[in-house]
């Protein structure tokens, strides 16, 4: 699905990602955990084509991404759910969802209505509120809308940047349950999170990102048992 080798990227002269090698297999939930400023969002933005790569290789669904435009990457089948939801608050929920269908519109075999029904199935609350302005939704509902919008493009890989940010613990639990359901429905998820315990709790595998480098990788259950991860990210005092 996604294979990254020795990726370097950043802003201007600042190299944020120093050497990232990672992969996501079809049907997996893979989480990237790390502290603030480790480079998690930069990694997602680089894959999404928003930031240019300085060195290394990204292969998405068998295609090597080289200066590939962001919309082309969505078209290839990779959608990003940005941090802080970033829904268009002054238009309706339905309009927000339809914007997500933009790259697919007019394509053979793409049925907008059918896709909408699928989204409403996963997030019934969005159906109830489809005529409401997105800005009037609660934080959790906005997160669902952002996810629904990304799903409208029928992505093969869905990338989520900190879906738990600013949400109440109960809502976070709901969102993570939905991510699990997305995977059951055959989606592949790459999940960037600061909430390491919650993310590792639902992920198959995880990578620990620190100052632009992957320093630990492995099955999520192993990372939960790894004392370095526990000390640094799970807030567990070993002593």
């Amino acid at each position: 699905m996604l294979k990254i080798k020795n990726l370097e990227a950043g802003y201007g002269k600042l190299r944020v990602l120093k050497r990232i090698s990672m992969h996501v297999d079809p049907g997996e939930i893979v989480t990237i955990i790390g502290a603030n400023g480790a480079g998690k969002t930069t990694l997602l933005y680089t894959i999404a084509g928003i930031i240019k790569t300085m060195a290394g290789e990204i292969n998405l669904l068998g295609q090597t991404l080289k200066k590939t435009k962001a919309e082309k990457i969505v078209d290839l089948g990779c959608s990003l759910v940005p941090e802080g939801r970033q829904v268009f608050s002054t238009i309706s929920v339905l309009e927000n969802l339809l914007l997500g269908a933009y790259v697919q519109s007019g394509k053979n075999g793409y049925d907008r209505k059918q896709e909408l029904e699928k989204i409403y199935n996963i997030f019934p609350v969005l159906k109830d509120r489809r005529r409401q302005l997105a800005g009037t939704l609660s934080g959790g509902e906005q997160q669902m809308l952002a996810m629904g919008r990304a799903l409208m493009a029928r992505p093969k890989l869905i990338m989520m940047d900190e879906p738990s940010t600013g949400l109440a613990p109960l809502i976070v639990k709901d969102i993570f349950q939905i991510i699990l359901r997305l995977r059951e429905a055959g989606n592949t998820v790459m999940l960037v999170e600061q909430n390491a315990r919650a993310a590792l709790g639902i992920a198959d595998r995880g990578y620990v990102l620190e100052t632009g480098k992957i320093i630990i990788q492995g099955p999520a259950t192993d990372l939960l048992d790894n004392h370095d991860v526990q000390r640094a990210y799970l807030g567990r005092d070993i002593e």
């Binding site: 050497r19 090698s21 992969h23 192993d222 048992d225």
Partner: protein, 432 residues
């Protein structure tokens, strides 16, 4: 039968991606947590963060048994002792012991690796596994024990020794799989035949043998005597213990668990990689070990890689059975001789017993070896002519295999030592 099909049968380029990711994380780990490697990288001006491709492996330094000894006991651990849940020590086959440690995750990985080996050998949850490897500091017993439990088999942790009791338990507990060294497997077989035990009345179906080199002839001998499928497995405590590689029912080479161990074959003299398919020394880099990662550990075991895909469907490459150790190599009249080559010839000859000893002596400035081999009773007692003939025949076969002449002496049945653990086939009488 696979234990982790998605790993054991993964596409090669996916495997290489995984190996690179894991190696990069391992290099970070040793460079930050193990002073020995930090110093070595600095000396050699290696930037562990600069590692970009598996092809760069050759630039990394070797780790030797001596490095392990010098850092005795815990110097090479990459985690604090409080994260270590198990400590083992090398069997000390040669010289001072070395110490290895495991985190909780390491034990989990290890169990998985031996579960793969056991499953490939045919063992499943309905089997009764008699583990006659030594338990204790030696990794053999515990390593396969945890794997056998993982696959759901019923485990009999009998440990090594007490042959009569082993046989009793094998009968009473209806053992279906035997785990031990090949030499002990043979000793068990011979003892049972001697006791006139009806082998067909046993439930034994599989034998998993490891811990020492053995020949194809010895496999046949064990299979015929015990009526089982005998498979080889490989490992060493310095990189984990058993579970590094194991045979599938094809019995034609051992699948290496390459997603956890990176294997190179080097020429032990030039330290350069050998050409694909050539025999050389096995060098192992661990990819997932937490407590005790090693970079390019020189195992001193000799074998070659079989590049050809295996009909069993596993994509993990195979290594041929271990031919011997670089330090087993004898230089006789300028020719390199491995005990395993001699064993292979002896097992092929009618009238000899599968027990032998190689005596090394020094005459003047030259090393000389004599092979003592047991022969069946009737030859030993009655027929001088037949004896003469047999000696000539063995000498001839050895000469054609090794390219040099070697003395052969026939000895009476059951006069050579038997082994319950690792066999010691070479008696070195040289005073160097």
């Amino acid at each position: 039968m696979y234990w982790e099909k998605e790993k054991e049968c993964m596409a090669r380029d996916d495997l290489e991606q995984l190996q690179l990711e894991r190696l990069q994380a391992t290099l970070y780990r040793v460079a930050t947590h193990v002073p020995f490697y930090r110093k070595k990288f600095k000396e050699l001006q290696i930037d562990p963060d600069g590692f970009r491709s598996l092809d760069e492996l050759q630039n990394l330094p070797f780790t030797t048994k001596n490095d392990l000894r010098r850092n005795y006991p815990y110097g090479l651990f990459a985690v604090p002792l409080r994260d270590v849940v198990r400590v083992h020590s090398s069997s000390g086959t040669t010289g001072t012991a070395t110490v290895v440690g495991y985190t909780k995750n390491d034990i989990k990985t290890w169990s998985n690796m031996t579960a793969r080996v056991l499953t490939a050998a045919g063992v499943g949850k309905d089997d009764v596994v008699q583990i006659a490897f030594g338990y204790g500091l030696f990794t053999g017993g515990f390593g396969l024990h945890y794997g056998a439990e993982r696959v759901g088999a019923s485990v009999i942790p009998i440990s090594s020794g007490n042959t009569k009791r082993q046989i009793q338990i094998m009968q009473d507990f209806r053992t279906t799989a035997l785990v031990c060294t090949p030499s002990y497997g043979l000793l068990l077989a011979d003892t049972m035949l001697e006791m006139d035990i009806n082998i067909n009345a046993l439930n034994l179906r599989f034998g998993l043998f490891g811990g020492e080199p053995w020949s194809e002839g010895m496999r046949e001998e064990i299979q015929n005597k015990l009526h089982i499928q005998a498979t080889d497995n490989y490992g060493l405590s310095e990189v984990m213990g058993p579970g590094v590689a194991g045979e599938c029912p094809e019995r034609n080479g051992l699948h290496i668990n390459e997603d956890h161990f990176l294997i190179e074959i080097i020429n032990p003299d030039t330290l350069e990689p050998v050409k694909p398919g050539e025999t050389g020394e096995v060098v192992i880099t661990t990819l997932t070990k937490e407590a005790f990662p090693v970079i390019r550990y020189r195992t001193r075991d000799l074998t070659r890689i079989i590049e050809k895909p295996c009909p069993c469907g596993r994509t993990l490459r195979r290594m041929e059975r271990v031919l011997g150790r670089t330090d087993d190599m004898l230089i006789i009249k300028g020719v390199n001789v491995y005990p395993m080559q001699i064993e292979a010839v002896l097992f092929d000859i009618e009238g000899t017993e599968p027990h032998y000893q190689i005596v090394v002596e020094r005459e003047g400035r030259l090393d000389k070896i004599t092979v003592l081999v047991e022969v069946v009773e009737e030859i030993f007692f009655d027929q001088m002519k037949k004896q003469r003939h047999l000696v000539d025949h063995i000498k001839k076969r050895l000469a054609s295999e090794l390219g040099i002449g070697i003395d052969v002496k026939l000895v009476e049945e059951k006069t050579l030592e038997r082994f319950e653990g690792k066999a010691k086939r070479v008696l070195d009488k040289r005073k160097l």
